[in-house]
Every structure is written in structure tokens, then in C-alpha cells.
């Protein structure tokens, strides 16, 4: 058997039982590599369950800087007998299967094309600890220690992390370091360390940070000036609201009084959550809610009201696999259509598609400016992969000179100067009208906000012409929106090509990696990352310029492609789908394979070493 030889370029996957404290040990592993200057991409693949079910943690290490899922696994560390039969099947030929051999491995599971390493983790724990909780927790730390020896991880990076993690709880530092040493020592004594897959210190991460998108989103809401959040718990968006609260407690306490410069209400349901946000925004406070697909469905009626009544509204949708309850802890980009045309009647909603934590921060802050500038809902579509996993990202930054763009809001003085105020008069001919905040002026500027049709002076009317005029103005406002929303990003191919590729959000990293693979094989594609809806003219031009374009997305129904076709009236032959909807983040190998299959004359997929086994666990 030929073992995989690799320095700083591999995928390792941990198979654990959830609720056993494995997450923090696995995090420590990923962060140690990050501190060794190596780009890492950890992904938590977890069940909708609190304790006892299989859970996995996949870490991609790539000194080439690839941060998406590659596909395939080179090393499995399995401490969960329940998932072992499947886990061992996932290892690439020549890879490693590391497991707890306190109980012997079922002989039927043994593969001859895989290196098998047994470490008696439970045995070591039972010998060392008497407390059952410690036996469970330290087992995780012990295997991280063993991996440090096997992969040649800088032990000081690990001990440094333990120190950081238990700052303030110093008496926990020593036992954790001891557990690391136990594993390290066992591996050193029993195996040839390092194995053929290993790491070396590099300086490749610069000033990057490792953070989850939901925390970045919450910080974006704080910097964007949100003073009110209403929410209802739902995976995977819950941590947006929780992080908002955590950071508000630190950053938003009034220095004079000790009182809060923010309010958070955990609502009775998503309908109430969005209603509260609309009420607060109508009343002049920047506010937001965070939810996921099922919540978005519940918010539909209210989002139609906010669109029609033109109330600025910020909504964070951290997408998960639907429909219905779907797979609540698995990722997808499958709310595109339900968000884009959210609500009954003719509605169009502004969407933002972040792809990194930095962009979660920037776009969350920008969402408030956009919502107030355009007086309409703005939905930021993140997803579980981005929101709940630590992602390597450029650091967050804020221009201290930046001022909030509150849009067109009339002051008391401005109202004094006006003869007659019309809430829905298009004074500036950009289809965005002037709003007033309740309480501004004793006898000018008041009006009734309503979801029923009204004239330019906000008076109720059922006159068809007035209704139509208003609907056409809303369409004109949609045109105005195009100049404000984030523009797409282009990555031209190295050589002229008549084919393009479009991706958005969390498909970015894997897509860029797949394009590298394809370029090596002589297939060149111009790339465009869409960052917002409405699409501006550049998006249309890009599709026009290419004979056909691949649209990469993580849902079954080619939702972005459908949206592009609906908005631009392209025929189906102009846009080809590359899809992944099994709940795992789309991988570079999967994208490459699907593109090759659809290229003219490429009926046969050329075999490369990496493609063996790439189909496993992935949709194609």
C-alpha cells in the first residue's frame, strides 16, 4: 500500500458522539494549525440533537489557501463506534484511520488500502481518571495530543491555546496540558512519528482571523447602529441573536447610567419577531431579526406589508436545508426564491449574499443603510456553513468617520417649511419618498402607515389608477436599488473563454478552487460572484457575453438560475446548473466533476487520483 504523502495539504475528519465535549477539543486542533500559519477550514457536521448522536468535525488544511470543502477525507479520527463502519469507508486509499482500540476493531471493517492506527483512548482515561465526566472530556484532549505527535503539530501552539481557553479558570490549564501530554507520549512511544501526512509551520495566514459568520453578523448589527433585536430561537440563526446580546452587554452600556443602549425581545414566534422589527424601524430605531427558512416562511405576510408600506426592515436569514423542518443542522442555499419574492402579491425584496465572516460584518452593517436609504426590507442570506462554522477571514474593520445613512427622513424644521407633506410623493424622481418618524412635529407630517392601497398623501384609496401608480413607483424604486446594492465581483479566466461561471455566498471558496483544477486541465471559465439582488446590469452583461454560464448553488431547484432567468428572460440553454443539496457544503471536486460533465465533448470524466472516492457523501 502506498500511503498518501502530504505536507500541509489534507483533510482530517473527527467522528464523535455529540454532547461529549468534543467540539472544544476539535476547535483547539484547528486553531493550533491556524496559529502555525496554515490556512484551515473547519466544518462542524452535527445532528439535530443534544446528546448521543454521531457528529463530525472536518478540518481542511491547505497551504495553497483553499478554504472550501475539497471532498474526500485523508485521515479519520473515530471515537464513535456507532459511525465507524461508515467512517472507515470514507478514507481515501493510502489515508489513515485512527480509532479508539480499547475495544478491538470489528475485523470486517478492516481495509487493506488504509493505514490503521489504534490508540486506547478509553483505556488511558480509565487508568488516569476516576471521575466519569473527566474520563469523557479528557479523551478528546488526549487524541488531540496524539495527533500533535502524529502530524508534527507544534506542541507549544496547543499549550498556548489551552492557556487562552481557560483564562480566568487557571486550575483547568494543568490537567488539560497533562491530557495533551498523555496522548502525545503514547503516540511517540508506539508509532513512527510523524506519519506521511504532516504539517510544517508556515506564514500564510497574515492578519486573518478565525471566526463564525453569525458572530460577525451580530457585530455588524452593533456597528450598523441596531438598537433593537427581536427574535425567535431557530437553528442555525440563534447564535446571531445570542452574539448580539453578548457583545451588547460589553459594548452598549450607557457609561453614565449603566443602562442599556439596546433592547432585545425574545418573541413568541417569528411572526411577532418581524412585526416588532417593523414597528421599531417605523418608529425610527434601527432593528433586526435573525431567522432561518421556516421562520422566513412565517414572516411572509409581514414582509409584504413592509415592502408595500415601505418600512425599512433588516432580516438575517441563516439558511438551512428545507423544505419544512428539513435538515435543521445542515447547510443549504435554498431560500433564494422564497426570499427574493417574499410575500403574496407583486413583491421583490433586496437580498445580500455574504461569503465570509468579514462580509457578514460589512453587509449586516450595510443592510441598515440600504434598508433606510431604500425604505424597504433587506434580507441578508447567510447559511449554516458560514454562520456556525469558524471561517478564516480577513479581519473586521470599521471606518470611525463613517456615518449612518438614515435616508430620506424629514426633521421638524423641514416639515415647518413644507406646505403639504405627502408620504408617498416622489419628489426627487428616484421613486424613494420622504418619511417622517412619529413624534417629530405636533401638527405636520403625521400619516397612517398601512398595507392597503393609498394615494401619494397616504390616504386610503381603492382607485385602480392610484394603486397602479404606486406599484409602478415601487418598481422604479427597484431600479434605484440597483445602484446602491453591492456590485458583483469578477474573476476573469487566464485565457479568453466563451464560458462563464456564477456563484454566490458560501460556494465561493470551493468554486474558485474548482476553477484552478479546471484551468490545469485546460478548461477556462470567467467567474462572477453575485453579491446582491436586484442584479445590476453587469450581471446581465456577463451572462450575455458568454455562450453559456454555469450557476453553482446549494439547492435542488437551481434557485439562483431561476431568479436570473425570471429577471433577465434568458433561455434555459444560457444557464447550466451545478448543484449540491445533500446538506454538506459543496466541494471543489464535486463542482469540477459537474462542470466537466456538462462541457460539450466532455462525456468522459478524466480520472485523477483525487477524484477516486470523491462521489461519496456528495450529490452529483
Amino acid at each position: 500500500m502506498k500511503s498518501i504523502e502530504s505536507v500541509n495539504e489534507f483533510v482530517i475528519k473527527f467522528a464523535n458522539v455529540n454532547g461529549t465535549g468534543s467540539a472544544s477539543a476539535n476547535n483547539m486542533f484547528a486553531k493550533a494549525l491556524f496559529r502555525m500559519g496554515l490556512p484551515v477550514c473547519p466544518k462542524n457536521i452535527f445532528p439535530s440533537n443534544i446528546q448521543g448522536m454521531p457528529t463530525w468535525y472536518e478540518v481542511r488544511v491547505s497551504e495553497k489557501g483553499y478554504l472550501g470543502r475539497r471532498g474526500g477525507v485523508d485521515i479519520i479520527l473515530s471515537v464513535n463506534p456507532q459511525s465507524m463502519p461508515n467512517d472507515i469507508q470514507e478514507v481515501e486509499p493510502g489515508g489513515y484511520f485512527i480509532y479508539d482500540n480499547t475495544k478491538p476493531l470489528d475485523l470486517r471493517l478492516i481495509r487493506n488500502d488504509v493505514n490503521i492506527i489504534g490508540i486506547p483512548l478509553t483505556g488511558i482515561c480509565n487508568q488516569t481518571y476516576s471521575d466519569p465526566r473527566q474520563r469523557q472530556l479528557f479523551k478528546n484532549v488526549i487524541y488531540v495530543g496524539a495527533l500533535a505527535a502524529l502530524l508534527d503539530i507544534d506542541f507549544a501552539a496547543l499549550t498556548g491555546l489551552v492557556g487562552d481557553q481557560f483564562k480566568g479558570k487557571e486550575k483547568l490549564i494543568k490537567p488539560n496540558i497533562h491530557a495533551l501530554e498523555l496522548g502525545h507520549q503514547y503516540a511517540k512511544e508506539n508509532f513512527d512519528c510523524p506519519i506521511s501526512i504532516r504539517v510544517e509551520r508556515r506564514d500564510l495566514v497574515g492578519d486573518s482571523i478565525l471566526m463564525d459568520g453569525n458572530t460577525a453578523t451580530a457585530l455588524g448589527c452593533i456597528y450598523g447602529g441596531a438598537t433593537f433585536a427581536a427574535w425567535y430561537p431557530i437553528t442555525p440563526s440563534t447564535s446571531v441573536a445570542e452574539a448580539y446580546e453578548t457583545y451588547c452587554r460589553r459594548l452598549r452600556i450607557d457609561p453614565g447610567t449603566g443602562r442599556k443602549n439596546y433592547a432585545i425581545v425574545q418573541a413568541e414566534d417569528e411572526l411577532a419577531a418581524i412585526g416588532m422589527v417593523i414597528g421599531a424601524s417605523w418608529n425610527g430605531a434601527r432593528s433586526f431579526t435573525a431567522t432561518s427558512g421556516p421562520g422566513l416562511s412565517l414572516m411572509q405576510e409581514f414582509l409584504g406589508l413592509a415592502y408595500f408600506a415601505e418600512v425599512p426592515t433588516v432580516l438575517i436569514d441563516v439558511q438551512r436545508a428545507g423544505p419544512s423542518t428539513g435538515m435543521p443542522t445542515r447547510t443549504q442555499q435554498s431560500d433564494i426564491l422564497s426570499a427574493a419574492y417574499c410575500s403574496h402579491g407583486d413583491t421583490k425584496q433586496v437580498l445580500l449574499f455574504p461569503s465570509t465572516p468579514k462580509e457578514c460584518f460589512d453587509m449586516a452593517a450595510e443592510a441598515f443603510d440600504l434598508a433606510e436609504r431604500l425604505q424597504t426590507p433587506v434580507i441578508m442570506l447567510s447559511d449554516l456553513d458560514l454562520g456556525m462554522n469558524d471561517n478564516m477571514s480577513a479581519p473586521l474593520s470599521w471606518d470611525d468617520e463613517r456615518r449612518f445613512d438614515r435616508g430620506k427622513v424629514l426633521t421638524r424644521e423641514e416639515l415647518n417649511e413644507m406646505e403639504r407633506y405627502g408620504r408617498y410623493e416622489d419628489v426627487d424622481m428616484d421613486a424613494v419618498c420622504y418619511r417622517t418618524i412619529p413624534g417629530t412635529h405636533p401638527d405636520k407630517g403625521a400619516f397612517v402607515t398601512r398595507g392597503t392601497s393609498r394615494d401619494e398623501f397616504a390616504a386610503y384609496t381603492e382607485v385602480g389608477e392610484a394603486y397602479e401608480r404606486n406599484m409602478l413607483r415601487l418598481m422604479a424604486k427597484w431600479e434605484t436599488a440597483k445602484q446602491y446594492v453591492p456590485a458583483p465581483e469578477f474573476t476573469p479566466a487566464a485565457r479568453p473563454t466563451s464560458h462563464g461561471v456564477i456563484f454566490f455566498g458560501t460556494s465561493e471558496a470551493s468554486s474558485l478552487e474548482a476553477l484552478d483544477y479546471l484551468a490545469e486541465e485546460g478548461v477556462h471559465l470567467d467567474a462572477m460572484r453575485v453579491r446582491a439582488f436586484p442584479f445590476n446590469d453587469d450581471v446581465e452583461a456577463f451572462i450575455d457575453q458568454h455562450e453559456f454560464t454555469f450557476v453553482i448553488e446549494q439547492n435542488r431547484d437551481s434557485q439562483l438560475r431561476t431568479l436570473l432567468m425570471a429577471e433577465f428572460e434568458f433561455g434555459p440553454d444560457k444557464l447550466k446548473s451545478v448543484l449540491c443539496f445533500d446538506g454538506t457544503p459543496i466541494s471543489a471536486r464535486n463542482i469540477r466533476k459537474q462542470i466537466l460533465q456538462q462541457l460539450p465533448g466532455s462525456n468522459v470524466t478524466p480520472l485523477r487520483r483525487e477524484t477516486a472516492g470523491a462521489g461519496k457523501g456528495e450529490s452529483a
Binding site: 433593537f228 411577532a272 430605531a285
Partner: protein, 350 residues
């Protein structure tokens, strides 16, 4: 056609302390049916706010969907209004109240809007003791969709359509009491003498104030077999006491015999004089209030008046410990922690 109130007014209309006449608190002309109880309630709201000398822009009026929820257009034309979606006014009011704690939030809803589709939001606004007035224009039927029974229709009561309602009714006052409401009252649209002071007291109350007003639907539910008809309510309403409301700035002129009334000072300094008409009923005792409602119900009576009052419970802003300045007045310097803080956060993520 559009409806506009005639602008002619008597030149010597009385003005309030702010110099406003009652006209300054009116809205557009009502499009409800002639004789609708809701119009009387609108009139009572106008009088209450005028007499309290509240600047119109210090009130925000909110409603859901239905005949009742149309009324905010017909009163307080100089106040901002929000006609939200069906049953969801409480959430919009919650957000609005969080954004600016200084305004008065006047919610108007109906029995369909509150007791059915909006039951969830109604109950949760109560539990949070949101500082708002919540007026239910309660006619026991869905007027705007032509007279279907609502959840407050009494069992056995029949609307114009004729079939007796087979289901038990939801008593909103009893429900509110159960949920910990801090101000619960019931009145009748035809009794302005009772309703106006109750609305004033509700506005003065800091916290959630329910005013459940039986308000007959003249078109669909004013027939002989209905328990929400003018005739039935006039005959069966039983006030547990009277409420006189004396605003903070006004001198107490009326003379009260010692021992016949209870004086209650509200948060804004206004004073309520409560005169009990019924023995063994204590509006400061939740259990007593609940049993009084039950007793009246069993006797086939409609209990009206101030049912319960608790002035000590903290409202939502107090519970959340928010700053006293309205959140919607905070600026970048209050809200943006600055780039140096982000740099520290970045450092902790490396």
C-alpha cells in the same frame, strides 16, 4: 369618493391647556355603518385625549385588520398611525414602544383581531407588561366579512344569520387577568360617562392597559338573540363601581364623602377616584377581580368598570433596563464602539 370632515366649527370651541380644540384630535370621517358602536369609541378616544391635553404627535395609534382596526383613521389625525396585519398589532406596538419609550401607544383591535388570529400576540404583550393602551372594540362578530361569529360571541348567542353559537366564548378580561395584566377594564360603547375616564386612566397607567369595550355591530349582530346587541348590553351591563379621573395638573373639585371612594395616584401624577358599587369586590386584588367576572358571567350579566389595577409591576422597558433616552435618538457616538474595539476582537480570534 373621499370622505372629509366638514371644516366648519363653532368659533368658540373650548380649547385644552395646549390651545387645541377637540377638532385638532379628530380624523377623517368614518366609513363605518351608521350607528356602529366603534364610532362612539372613536369619539370617546378623541374626548379623552383632548381633555388630557396630550400633544397629538405624542401618541402613536396602531391597529390590526377589521372594522375596529379601520378606526385609527377616524381619530387623532395629527398622530402617526400604523394599520398593521391581521392580529399582529401587538408586535408592531412592541417594536415601536422599544424604539421610543416617550410616546403613548394606543392600540385598537377587534374581537376577531384579538381573540382569534391575534390571541398569541395579545397574550404575550400582556405578559411583557408592554406600556400601551389596548382597546378592543368587541362586537362578537366579524363585521368586515359580513357577520361570522367571533371567539368572544357568547355560547348560545345568535347573530343576524340566526344560528346560535355552539362554542364557549373567550372572555378577554378574564384572560388578561390570568396572564398577569396590570390594568383590566370593561365598558360599553354606549356609556361614554364610564368609557372616557377609563380610557384616561388606561393612558395614565404605566404598563399594559386593557379596555375591552362591548361595541354592538348594528348590521350583523344587533338582533334580539344576540348578547352583544345594544338592548342586551343596556339591560345586562352592571358596573362594579365608578371611576373619576383627575389629570395631574387639575385641582380636585369634586367632593368625595370619606369612606365612599378610594383615591389612586397613577404614575403620571393623575388621580383616580374609585367608587365601589359592589360589596366584596376589590379591584386591587387579582383573585377578587377574577371571581367578580365569573360571578357576573354566571348571573348572565356583563361586568363593566375598572376590573383590576396594579401600579407596581415594572413595564417592559424597566425589565429590560434600557436607557431613559429613546433608543431612536441614539447616534453613532452612542452606538458604534469604534475600530479599536474591533482590533481587540480580531486579536482574540487569531
Amino acid at each position: 369618493m373621499s370622505f372629509i370632515n366638514p371644516t366648519f366649527r363653532h368659533p368658540e370651541l373650548p380649547v385644552n391647556e395646549l390651545g387645541y380644540t377637540k377638532k385638532d384630535y379628530e380624523g377623517t370621517i368614518s366609513t363605518l355603518c351608521a350607528g356602529c358602536g366603534h364610532d362612539s369609541i372613536s369619539g370617546s378616544i378623541i374626548r379623552a385625549v383632548h381633555e388630557l391635553s396630550i400633544p397629538p404627535h405624542q401618541i402613536a395609534k396602531l391597529s390590526g385588520i377589521g372594522c375596529s382596526s379601520k378606526t385609527p383613521a377616524y381619530f387623532l389625525g395629527n398622530s402617526h398611525g400604523f394599520n398593521a396585519v391581521h392580529g399582529r398589532m401587538p408586535s408592531v406596538a412592541t417594536g415601536a414602544a422599544m424604539a421610543n419609550r416617550d410616546l403613548i401607544y394606543l392600540g385598537v383591535s377587534g374581537d376577531g383581531d384579538t381573540a382569534s388570529i391575534g390571541m398569541g400576540q395579545f397574550t404575550h404583550a400582556i405578559r411583557r407588561n408592554l406600556n400601551m393602551v389596548y382597546i378592543v372594540m368587541n362586537n362578537g362578530c366579524y363585521g368586515l366579512t359580513k357577520g361570522q361569529d367571533s371567539a368572544t360571541a357568547d355560547e348560545g348567542s345568535a347573530s343576524k344569520k340566526g344560528d346560535p353559537n355552539p362554542f364557549s366564548s373567550i372572555d378577554l378580561c378574564a384572560t388578561a387577568l390570568n396572564l398577569g395584566a396590570t390594568f383590566v377594564s370593561r365598558s360599553f360603547s354606549g356609556d361614554k360617562e364610564q368609557l372616557i375616564p377609563l380610557i384616561k386612566a388606561a393612558i395614565s397607567h404605566r404598563g399594559f392597559a386593557l379596555v375591552d369595550v362591548v361595541s354592538p355591530c348594528v348590521t350583523f349582530n344587533n338582533n334580539a338573540a344576540s348578547t352583544k346587541s345594544y338592548e342586551f348590553v343596556r339591560e345586562h351591563a352592571e358596573a362594579t363601581g365608578t371611576v373619576d379621573f383627575v389629570p395631574m395638573r387639575e385641582e380636585i373639585k369634586a367632593h368625595y364623602e370619606p369612606g365612599t371612594s378610594t383615591e389612586v395616584t397613577m404614575h403620571d401624577g393623575s388621580v383616580l377616584h374609585l367608587r365601589k358599587l359592589e360589596e366584596g369586590f376589590d379591584p386591587f386584588d387579582r383573585a377578587s377581580a377574577m371571581s367578580a367576572i365569573a360571578r357576573h358571567r354566571e348571573a348572565g350579566k356583563v361586568m363593566t368598570g375598572l376590573v383590576y389595577l396594579d401600579r407596581t409591576a415594572p413595564d417592559l422597558h424597566e425589565v429590560l433596563d434600557t436607557v431613559h433616552r429613546p433608543l431612536n435618538t441614539l447616534s453613532e457616538s452612542d452606538l458604534c464602539p469604534g475600530n479599536h474595539v474591533l482590533e481587540n476582537i480580531n486579536a482574540s480570534l487569531r
